[in-house]
Every structure is written in C-alpha cells, then in structure tokens.
Symmetry: C2
C-alpha cells in the first residue's frame, strides 16, 4: 500500500454527469446548438446514436435521458416517463419522415414494403396510413436505413432522416420515385400534429434522481428556446456543413418541426396511441402511472 494514494483515489471520485442521448439527424441540431451556446455541454455527457438505438440504450440503463421514437415510448411506457414541454413534432409536412415508393401508394397492394429498423415510429405510421388508404397486404420487411439498398429489394420504404429531407427539398433528386410526407398525411387524416420523438427518462431514474432530471430538463428547454431565438444564425452556420441552404434549414427547424409538447401535440400523441393498440394511454400527470416525470 502506497501512503496517500488510497485517500487520493477515493477523493478523486467525481460526480458523474448525466448521460443524455441525441440523434445525429438534423432535427437534433437546434438542441445541440442550444446546449453548446448555453455551455450545458459541460454538465452533461452527450451521446449520439440512431433513434432506435437511443431507446434501447435508455431502457438498458446506458443513458439517463434520451430522445426516443414515440413508438418505442408507447411500447415501454410502463418503464419510461416523458419530459414535459419538449418533443419533436410537426403540424403538417415534417419533410424528414416519409414513404419513398417506386409506385403510387395505392399500387403497393401485395408488394414488398421496407421499414427502416432505425425508424420504428415512421414504420408504424406508414402502416396505419396504408391501412387507411385501404392498401391491403403489402409484405412488410425490416431494412437498413440505406434507402438505395432497401429499394433494390423492396418497392417502397418508410424512413426518417436527412436523406428523406433531401427528397422533400429537391423534386429533381427524386427521379421517378414517389415521396409521401408522413407528417402531412397524418395531419390530413386526423387534423392533429404528429409527435415523432419524445424526451424520456426511466421511471426508476426519475424517482431516484429527480434533481438530475430537473437539471437536464431545464437545460433542454433553455437550449431549445435559445436555438429558436438564434434560428437564423444557427441555420446559416449549419448550412456550411450540410447539403441544404440556410433558408431551407431555418424553415425546417422553425416551421416544419415543432419542439414544444403542448395540448395539440398531446392530442396527436394520444390519437396515435389509440390507433396503435394503446387504447389505455391517457395523459395523466399525477399518480404512479403519470406520463410525465415529476419535474416541478
């Protein structure tokens, strides 16, 4: 035993920063901007992954707080609670979540339909909308999020991401492909916004570390608010490193996407829950089955 070293080792143990998960998609760039500009990045351990992997890692205990696809949240809501007031939704075209198809939707009857494994919510939404269009019996297969590879095997794919955004922006890029914006279709059908991603925390973490959850929640809200205030500058800076121009990015960040989670979004979320077999889902905010982490 070396004198002094044991003590020092014990005292060197630092408090552990909350591990927070974000996607690498453009839709998370405003929050990243805000977390940077407010220096909250100093206080969290920010991890980047695909939406589906973030859900898995949150459930596995590898992350404390993460943005997760709403389909994953609904499937695991006995173990997860939402952070109030913040989500990723659209009230009309979302631009970055779509069905990309070789034929018009109505011609997909009996054809092969790929669902990108990274986009479970997008897949569920596409299935709902095809059913509503009375497109019977497409064969659903899981694919990678590589659109090109998926369309070698399948006739259509439902996926989320920046590649889809490209199709929304540039008709020429589509070539002969048909692109259906899932935010727009949902809105036309229900009259409601669609919530694609929510911010969630495990129930046990919310119970054990409410202070941490409050801090992360506050940091996310402040980041979101600052990013919206600085959206023009954010879009200009982001455009230097993306294939999209600043005008497109500002539109996407501030008009296509909505980072709030208010009554209209909650109504949209409840409607999606009802449509996907979670009829018992209600937005109760108190009691043991509360939807929201006890933030206040």
């Amino acid at each position: 035993m070396v004198p002094g070293v044991e003590i020092a080792d014990e005292e060197l143990r630092r408090p552990v920063r909350p591990r927070v998960g974000r996607t690498g998609f453009l839709n998370c760039v405003p929050l990243f901007w805000g977390l940077a500009r407010t220096a909250a990045l100093l206080s969290i351990d920010l991890v980047e992954d695909t939406p589906d992997a973030l859900a898995q890692r949150l459930l596995a205990g590898d992350l404390d707080v993460a943005t997760v696809p709403v389909a994953d949240y609904l499937l695991n809501r006995d173990r997860l609670v939402l952070l109030p007031g913040i989500a990723t939704s659209s009230d009309g075209p979302v631009m970055s979540c779509a069905i990309v198809s070789k034929v018009p939707i109505v011609g997909l009857e009996g054809r092969t339909f790929a669902i990108a494994s990274s986009s479970p919510t997008c897949g569920r939404l596409a299935q709902l909308l095809l059913k509503r269009q009375e497109v019977e019996g497409p064969r659903y297969v899981t694919s990678s999020e590589d659109l090109r590879a998926a369309l070698q095997e399948a006739d259509a794919i439902a996926l989320t991401g920046d590649e889809v955004l490209r199709y929304a922006v540039d008709r020429a890029a589509r070539g002969g492909l048909h692109v259906y914006d899932l935010g727009a279709l949902w809105r036309r059908w229900t009259g409601l916004p669609f919530v694609f991603g929510v911010w969630a925390v495990r129930r046990d973490v919310a119970a054990r570390a409410p202070h941490m959850v409050r801090e992360v929640h506050g940091a996310l809200l402040a980041a979101r608010d600052l990013a919206m205030t600085e959206a023009a500058e954010l879009a200009r800076r982001a455009a230097e490193w993306e294939v999209f121009d600043a005008v497109t990015l500002e539109h996407y960040f501030t008009r296509a996407l909505d980072y709030s989670l208010s009554d209209r979004q909650l109504a949209g979320l409840t409607e999606f829950a009802r449509c996907t077999g979670h009829e018992d889902f209600t937005v109760d905010t108190t009691g043991p089955s509360a939807v929201f982490a006890p933030i206040t």
Copy 2:
C-alpha cells in the same frame, strides 16, 4: 438501378468537418467551453483522447489539427507545423505536471522511475531536471497513467493530469508522497515558461487546406479568448462536476496555465528543444521549414 437514388446519393455528400483533437484533461476545458459558447462545435468534429494518442492520430492522418505534447512535436517537426499564438504553458507552477515520489528527489539515485506513457513531455522534463539535480542512474520504465499502480512497481513517477492537480491542491491527499511541480522546477532553473502542449497540423494538410487551418485556428483563438473573459463562470460551472472548487479552477485556468504562445513561451520552447537534442530548432516563420502554419 433505382431511378433518382444515384443522383440523390451523390448530392447528399456533405463537406467534411475538420477533425480536431483535444485532451480530456481539465486543461482543455476552457477551450471546450469557448468552442461550445461560440458554437464552433457545429463546425468541427471534436475528438477526445490522451495527449500521446492525439499526437499519434495527428501523424497518422486521423486528425487534422490537435493539441500534442511538445516532446512529440519536437520529434516530428519535419511533418508538423504549429498554430501560432496558442499553446498550453505555465510560467511557474503548472499544478498538473509533476514528479510524485516516495522519497525526496535526491534519494532517487539508482531507484526505479516510472514515466507515464501518456505524458512524454512530462517524462523528458523530469529526466532533464533529475540530471540537473545530479541524480544519477535512476532506472526509467514506462508505466500507465494509473499513479497507484505505477507506484506499486516504481519509486517515483512523472505524469500529467487531473490526478496530479489534486496533489497540488491538497497536501493531505499526498500522504507521505513528495510532489515536485515540473513547471516550477523548470522556471527556477531557466527563468522561462514551459510549454507543455502545442496546437499542431501536419505540413501536408497546412499546404493542401490552408483555409481549413485558418478557420480552425480562428475558432481556437476565439474560444480561448471567450473562455478567459468568462473564466469565473466557467470555473463555477466546471466545479459542479469536478473534485476542485471554483476558486481553484479559476486559478488553474487563468494563473497557473497560460494559453498564449508569445516570445517568452517560444524562448522556453527553444530552450527545451536545445536541452533535448534538438539544437537546430529555431522559430523561423517563413520558408519550407517554417515552424508555423501559414495562417495569415
């Protein structure tokens, strides 16, 4: 071939962000703070690694710009150039680079002396200073940066890092160990500051992508300047997640460390080069063997 997909794939190719390497030590936190607050993190791909690994990755082409130990820079200066005006030095006690020894330095004759593999500059400096103290024949061995493990095998260790900083701050933590601040010893010996780390870029990258180097250099200087302006707030926020209090951290960031690279630092660097067999090192700023990347 799926129509449209080929075009989209080509057009989706984004410009690649410069890959910039920083250490995970506290001495890099001010730059991280500044890069976050100025939102430069949106424009670079910031990678964290140990100082020695950063040097290896920079030389291997895995990084475009990185902070590297001055010993690594001197050994590879045929392939590297410095970014002007920015470095990590101290003009007296540095607090985080030291010899930690079971016995007073003069008693190390013939004993085993460990050099942490992650701290090559610290090791070279310790060897120089022992020689100057006429401590003959310590057996130098390479160790991990785990101080406890190293001192099970060796009588002393030279290393850099936050664990050493703990010893500088808290005498009680040292137990029976002797701690020699290498910045203080160097200053007493030479009257000069010691440059521990420099920011370097490969010569071929500086020649091929001067605009990128200029952008990263500007971002680093702006980050450093903002961090110094906001040092009190930075120290307060950092202290929430470190074992050190805000007063200690502000002292460390603003008084122990110096992030400039001016004539005094360059004189210290030249003196260290001379002492370590790089007698031909001079701070020429033009021509093919220029020390500095052609930034302006």
